[in-house]
């Protein structure tokens, strides 16, 4: 049934693998995709992954640095796989404990891990255990409750309520009867409950006792022959009932819900997104220096507040969530816990369990949310870090809190590192050598700073000796074309054409208002190719991600013109909305593209970075959701305020208490 099973070390050496019969292709490619898209992007909270037609389930063993991966066809929906992986992991560890405890990577190369027989045996056991569950047999009519009722009892009368009131014990008995009757279908209990209530009212006490006795006899007679499941099921349901009643009694409606498990009444459904807003801040130095060459990194140290006017268009209103930040001291105290407990925690090697990490992870999650990381992303990140650390053996003199913090910091840096090379200047040079213009498209919602940052980027490109054509494809907003024309005039003044070999350094291509944006973009690119411009910057109108016709128009513009770079402009002030915006934009671009490899968002421009202090979480949310790097960071409203992302500075700002 399985396509393959592989055990390999975190360093990449395959210790043992099994390839199912009849499977032609090697498993290396799907496993590599799994590693790159899930484990390395910190999405390992959910341990299954779909790739083409395969489902891959995996498990990390953090003590011995191993990864266990199993792959099977997606349509099969095998149920025993989770248990199989756990069994195999325990078995493998026990069997090869000695070899795996040696130091150095040489242990993976020297030892031959002959696991085939054990694997076959475990697989057989798992398959058999999944077949053992008997199919549920329907009750016959004589077994059901309906056959015992008199016609009179089935007539609903007003006295039914009284019957309910009488009923604590009677209801319980009635419920017991239903459960005893076997695998209950969901519809029958409520109706039969009502009927039985009425029945109770009409029957006398002796008849009721008689009926109960009959039920019990029948139950005992049945239990000799049929399945054992009703009894444990009944017990389980009784327990659930009691627990439910007990839990109901315990529910206190004040603000003391510190234990998240108590408050979690959902069935492990993805948590809701609360609205959160916080502001991020980082200040550059404002001086008129040249912007030639690569962009400087975002400065983190500076801290001068600045009055800034709000951008014109409306901004979405999100309510502020006041969260008391968990301080570092709190986390440390949690790790100590008593005089001798402190020593026990510090010295000696113990492996991390879920319970150890939970309080620390909760605090880290709240901390991240307070720093404007989207709530959904923060919880997924914490789950992934928990998976990465589970079972890891801590060294001496390290507390749980410090290990978790370090792991979280590493994973944040990993997320912010670009997955591909980000070097716009080099790519523009490449396009110039091929005698075609390099096209960059800016898209985003209203009022994030597309036009402003477009002007900044064109300033930077002109400083580096490229000629720029600005295509005004925002044909909707009043004054959009004039705004770009003003920018173009100012940039031409700053870089007169005689310095650029007699050619204008920047030019505006516009066709007025009300026209089709995709058509204007196409004409602009053709014009640039004829006039040998190096870069075309396409400015589009801001649009909400829910506005279907506008999203279609944007998707059409991108699909038709196939720009070299599609940049999503997002402001750093956004909170949980960032997730929604990016997901819907990507979805729209994928849906409306005709080809099978649609152009999605290639990079992110993070704007208004100077308005947030250290609440830099929006950077994390955006890169996590798309997996694309942050290409530019806008840190102000003048031409010089353009930086590149410094991952370490952002993460240290994020982890600061």
């Amino acid at each position: 049934m399985l396509d393959f099973f592989a055990i390999f070390s975190k360093g990449g050496i395959v210790l043992w693998c099994f390839q199912g019969a009849g499977v032609a292709e090697s498993f290396a490619a799907p496993v590599n995709v799994l590693i790159r898209s899930v484990i390395l992007q910190e999405r390992s909270g959910n341990n299954s992954f779909n790739h083409n037609s395969l489902t891959l389930k995996y498990k990390l063993d953090n003590e011995f640095e191993l990864v266990f991966v199993v792959g099977f066809q997606k349509i099969l929906m095998l149920t025993y796989v989770d248990k199989l992986i756990d069994d195999i992991q325990l078995h493998f560890r026990d069997r090869y404990k000695n070899e795996l405890e040696q130091k150095g990577a040489i242990k993976y190369l020297v030892n031959d891990f002959e696991f085939g027989d054990d694997f076959d045996q475990l697989l057989r056991e798992a398959e058999e255990s999944s077949r053992l569950k008997d199919p549920v047999v329907m009750r016959t009519f004589t077994q059901s409750l309906k056959s015992q009722k008199t016609v009179k009892s089935m007539i609903e009368t007003k006295g039914g309520d009284k019957g309910k009131e009488q009923g604590g014990k009677k209801n319980k008995n009635a419920k017991k009867e239903e459960e005893v009757a076997g695998a209950a279908q969901s519809k029958s209990p409520p109706t039969s409950k009502k009927v039985v209530v009425n029945g109770n009212q009409d029957l006398t006490k002796e008849e009721l006792i008689q009926r109960n006795r009959e039920e019990m006899f029948r139950k005992m007679a049945k239990s000799g022959t049929a399945t054992r499941s009703p009894k444990p099921q009944k017990e389980k349901e009784k327990e659930k009932e009691e627990k439910k009643k007990a839990a109901k009694a315990k529910r206190v409606w004040d603000n003391c819900g510190t234990n998240l498990k108590e408050l979690d009444y959902s069935d492990k459904v993805n948590g809701s997104q609360d609205a959160g807003l916080a502001r991020e801040h980082a200040e550059p130095e404002m001086h008129l220096e040249s912007m030639a060459g690569d962009l400087r990194d975002v400065d983190y140290e500076s801290s001068e507040p600045e009055d800034e006017e709000e951008e014109e268009e409306e901004e979405e209103e999100v309510e502020r969530v006041v969260v008391t930040e968990a301080s570092k001291t709190g986390a440390k105290r949690g790790g100590l816990g008593g005089m001798f407990g402190m020593f026990k925690g510090l010295v000696g090697s113990k492996s991390l369990t879920q319970e150890d990490m939970e309080p620390v992870l909760d605090k880290m999650r709240d901390h991240l949310i307070a720093k404007n990381v989207a709530a959904d992303i923060a919880s997924r990140l914490c789950d992934s870090v928990a998976k990465k650390l589970e079972g890891k053996v801590m060294g001496t003199f390290t507390t749980v809190a410090s290990t978790v913090k370090q792991a979280l910091q590493d994973s944040l840096v990993q997320i912010l590192q670009p997955k591909r090379r980000v070097d716009i200047l080099r790519d523009v040079m490449e396009a110039r050598s091929q005698r075609k213009p390099f096209v960059i498209t800016f898209c985003g919602v209203n009022g994030v700073g597309k036009s402003t940052n477009l002007a900044k980027i064109s300033y930077w490109l002109i400083e580096n000796g490229f000629s720029v054509l600005i295509a005004a494809c925002d044909t909707f907003r009043a004054g959009a074309v004039e705004q770009l024309r003003t920018h173009q005039r100012r940039l031409s003044m700053l870089h007169p054409s005689d310095q650029h070999g007699g050619r204008p350094s920047v030019q505006l291509f516009e066709k007025g208002y009300g026209k089709d944006a995709a058509g204007i973009a196409m004409e602009a690119i053709a014009y640039a190719r004829n006039q040998v411009f190096d870069v075309v910057l396409v400015d589009t109108a801001g649009r909400m991600q829910d506005n279907a016709p506008l999203m279609t128009a944007l998707a059409k513009l991108i699909a038709v013109n196939t720009p070299d770079l599609v940049l999503f402009v997002g402001e750093a002030l956004v909170g949980n909305e960032a997730v929604d915006q990016l997901v819907k934009f990507n979805q729209a671009l994928a849906d409306h593209s005709m080809s099978d490899r649609p152009r999605l968002i290639d990079g992110i421009v993070l704007t208004k970075f100077d308005t947030i202090d250290d609440k830099v979480g929006a950077a994390i949310s955006m890169t996590y959701i798309t997996g694309q790097p942050i290409v530019f960071v806008g840190t102000g409203q003048t031409y010089n305020d353009l930086r590149s992302l410094n991952a370490r500075a952002v993460v240290s700002a994020l982890m600061k208490a």
């Binding site: 360093g11 395959v14 590693i35 993976y108 030639a292 060459g293 990194d297 990993q414």
Partner: protein, 268 residues
């Protein structure tokens, strides 16, 4: 009032005199033992600092050879071949592999061979961790896909070469052009020429910001000589290009063609 004040003053003077006297007496009393104690403890501290610096000094820490390169270049397989000569199936590494390697020369010297992950999100932190202890760098290049990846390879090589720690230590660099067993692969010479051209361009695009950066990770190193085209011979470290094939020409069971690399490593 004055009397009382003067009286107080007198009392105070007297008491302070008394205090000073007792202090001097005490100091004299404690002088030898106290002062000797101070001197001894200071000496111990200084000696421990000196010893620590000596033991953790740069002499013994630079004994690692790093296998670096892009993702899928073949570093982990090369690692396995160099250590044991065996073929092992590999996946994308998410952690480093390190082991002691005994060089095949008369001296029998041994150092640590470290295989770093090549994936873009892991690369910077692992390079950061291991660059100070590098005695030599083996930069593994996928010769078959080189034409497509030339800019990525050049950028990684550029960031390595301009790193301040690497530029200071100047570990010897060998560029191993791997996957020579595939049919249409570039030769080492061609790869060298193309890398020189790319690095020349990168030097120009990146060099203008060197004045504005404040010595952060990007480094303030200018590769090669100004005014002349970049060549690997201009670098302060020894650079060599060689071809190798970790998989080997006889399929999975045969030996790898890594003799040149082994000879080079033996000379270290």
């Amino acid at each position: 009032m004055d009397e009382t004040v003067s009286l107080d003053l007198a009392v105070e003077d007297f008491s302070s005199e008394h205090d000073i006297k007792t202090l001097i007496e005490e100091m004299n009393y404690q002088d030898p033992a106290f002062l000797i104690g101070i001197f001894v403890s200071l000496a111990v501290v200084i000696i421990t600092i000196v010893l620590l610096k000596y033991f953790l000094g740069s002499k013994t820490t630079r004994n690692a050879v790093l296998l670096v390169g892009l993702c899928d270049a073949g570093k982990t397989l090369l690692f396995s071949r160099l250590l044991l000569g065996r073929f092992k199936r590999t996946q994308t590494s998410i952690a480093e592999n390190s082991a002691i390697y005994k060089a095949k020369n008369e001296r029998g010297s041994s150092w640590t061979l470290v295989d770093l992950p090549g994936h873009e999100s892991l690369r910077p932190q692992y390079v950061e961790k291991f660059k100070a202890s590098a005695r030599a760098l083996v930069f593994v290049v996928d010769s078959a896909l080189f034409q497509k990846e030339v800019r990525d390879v050049a950028e990684f090589l550029y960031s390595l070469l301009t790193d301040s720690v690497v530029a200071k230590n100047a570990p010897s660099l060998v560029v191993a052009c791997n996957k020579q067993d595939i049919r249409m692969t570039k030769s080492a010479k061609l790869i060298q020429q193309q890398l020189e051209k790319e690095l020349n361009t990168l030097r120009v695009t990146r060099s203008a910001t060197l004045t504005s950066q404040d010595g952060s990770v990007g480094g303030a190193v200018y590769l090669g000589k100004k005014g002349r085209d970049f060549e690997f011979s201009q670098l302060p470290m020894k650079v060599e290009f060689m071809e190798c094939s970790a998989r080997g020409h006889q399929g999975d069971e045969g030996d790898a063609d890594i003799e040149a690399l082994e000879k080079y490593l033996a000379k270290l």
